[in-house]
């Protein structure tokens, strides 16, 4: 019976305050969607980092005479210098593996990439001698590249140390920006949602003040008075969560699985696993955003 009283009140409350509830639902919907996008983007950043990190190597180029990229190189790297570089690499605990690439191997690679005909005969734009010898290093933890890079950069005979991570830096920066922008927008909208919920409760309490007063006087329990308000909030929150979940699911299927992952294969992409993790978060955050202010405010407006 109490249940029926509560559901009647709930239905009336939702109907009477319809425009405010729609506003709450929409705000929750957009803020939770953005929060979800932020979470998925940051998962994507982790995914990309893992994927690229496995392939990222540090390359140490050794000096050639008149090295165009390195004024400190005055002559070809000596055997001693090369040995010294190798010793440093060997001794570094972060190094998983490394190999040496000779001028000839490098030349083969260049010919492979650009076509061999430009590099043969008398008019060759480049000979093996122009290319740097190099060490290719794979790290145990691709994120801990700074130690070895700085240890090698200033050694004699080193032309330059290239870290692929620097080259993919802009991608990371872009992902980070996307992540922070969507979190900032989600944060602002969550605040808006909380304020809207607060306003809705205030209006609902005002609209029902006579009922509430009578309920208090006849001795209705505080729970029974507050319950319709809490349930109203829960219902609007759940609708918001469902809508945001739908948008994120569509984003996962059409944006990522059928879209980006099909066309761009320079990285691994997130999928349904990450979607469900994200959905779990917004399914908890959404009701919290709605119910916590409701509980706080009903205590204030409906002093039992």
């Amino acid at each position: 019976m109490q249940l029926r009283h509560v559901t009647t009140n709930l239905r009336q409350g939702l109907r009477r305050n319809l425009t405010m509830h729609v506003a709450v639902v929409l705000t929750l919907f957009v803020s939770l969607s953005l929060l979800g996008v932020g979470l998925m983007v940051s998962q994507q950043a982790g995914e990309t980092g893992k994927y690229l990190g496995n392939q990222l190597q540090i390359t140490v180029y050794l000096c050639v005479p008149d090295d165009p990229n390195a004024p400190q190189c005055t002559s070809e790297v000596t055997g001693e210098q090369r040995q010294a570089v190798e010793d440093v690499i060997e001794a570094n605990p972060e190094v998983a593996s490394y190999y040496f690439e000779s001028k000839e191997t490098a030349f083969e690679k260049v010919k492979d990439i650009f076509g061999s005909e430009r590099f043969e005969g008398r008019n060759a734009v480049l000979t093996a001698d122009d290319l740097n010898e190099s060490f290719w290093i794979t790290l145990k933890d691709p994120d801990r590249f700074e130690g070895i890079t700085s240890a090698l950069t200033n050694l004699d005979g080193v032309s330059s140390v290239r870290d692929l991570r620097q080259e993919v830096g802009p991608i990371y920066a872009f992902i980070d920006t996307l992540k922070y922008v969507s979190w900032a927008a989600a944060g602002a909208l969550v605040l808006a949602a909380v304020l809207l919920v607060a306003n809705t409760i205030r209006l609902a309490a005002l609209a029902r003040r006579k009922e509430i007063e009578i309920m208090r006087l006849v001795g209705a329990s505080g729970l029974l008075i507050v319950l319709p308000f809490v349930l109203e909030s829960v219902v609007t929150a759940l609708i918001g969560v469902a809508l945001a979940g739908g948008v994120l699911a569509a984003f996962t299927q059409f944006g990522i699985i059928d879209g980006l992952a099909e066309r761009l294969d320079f990285t691994a992409w997130i999928g349904w696993g990450e979607f469900w993790q994200t959905f779990a978060v917004i399914a908890v955050v959404g009701p919290l955003i709605a119910v916590v202010p409701t509980l706080l405010l009903t205590r204030k407006y409906i002093r039992v």
Binding site: M1, Q2, R4, G219
Partner: protein, 229 residues
């Protein structure tokens, strides 16, 4: 049933206290008028009984329990033993007469079966058996007050508190309302009525407690509004 033991109540700010060292005892089944001018402390006394406010000093007992010390969550249980009627009726305009009365029971979680049985009985008791489906605005002031009394009494409380119940009614209608309250009192319900309606108090010849500036200046077993000679 209701006992004020050296009760004082001061509101924040300057000025005399609303109640000043009041001691009154109301027995079960009594009918008591609480009289006095506006600001004499009548409404404050009623608010203390309902635990809408707490005394600054002294103790208030309702049905043998000291209610100042009552935990907040037990207050609803206290209020279930007290029916309340106001000068301005306080009916829900969007509900019919029967729904208004039923609302009090729904708010307490009573079963539909109970409600269907008790509401018509109570409307019959207050003489509105044929107006169950009317809206409050279709009723006269006296009828609206009967609905309010039905709502206050439908849960069969031990105590009925009425704050100026005839304040908005003409003398003839007021007499009808008093007869109704008297009938409720006959069922064993303690009635405490705040009023400054001289005619009614003089006519009913019930116990009168008079307040002036928050003090009890008179407590007569069967008094009139003014001092009896």
């Amino acid at each position: 049933m209701i006992r004020f033991d050296k009760v004082s109540k001061a509101y924040a700010g300057p000025g005399a206290p609303a109640l000043d060292n009041v001691t009154v005892d109301v027995d079960k089944g009594e009918f008591v008028f609480l009289v006095g001018t506006s600001g004499s402390g009548k409404s404050t006394a009623l608010r203390l009984i309902l635990r809408e406010a707490r005394p600054t000093q002294g103790r208030v007992y309702v049905a043998g329990k000291e209610i100042n010390r009552l935990a907040g969550w037990k207050v609803p249980r206290l209020r279930r033993q007290i029916g309340t009627v106001f000068q301005d009726f306080r009916l829900l305009q969007t509900k019919t007469v029967a729904e208004n009365v039923a609302f009090a029971l729904q708010a307490l979680g009573r079963s539909t079966k109970d409600i269907r049985r008790v509401v018509p009985e109570t409307l019959e008791l207050v003489g509105l058996g044929d107006k169950a489906d009317r809206m409050p605005e279709e009723l006269s002031g006296g009828e609206q007050q009967r609905v309010a009394i039905a709502r206050a009494f439908v849960n069969r409380p031990m105590i009925l508190i009425a704050d100026e119940p005839t304040g908005n009614l003409d003398p003839t209608t007021s007499v009808d309302i008093m007869r109704l309250l008297d009938r409720i009192n006959q069922t064993g319900t303690t009635v405490l009525m705040a009023t400054h309606d001289h005619g009614i108090v003089d006519q009913m010849r019930k116990r009168v407690v008079e307040l002036e500036h928050g003090r009890v200046v008179r407590d007569e077993a069967s008094g009139a509004y003014g001092f009896s000679h």
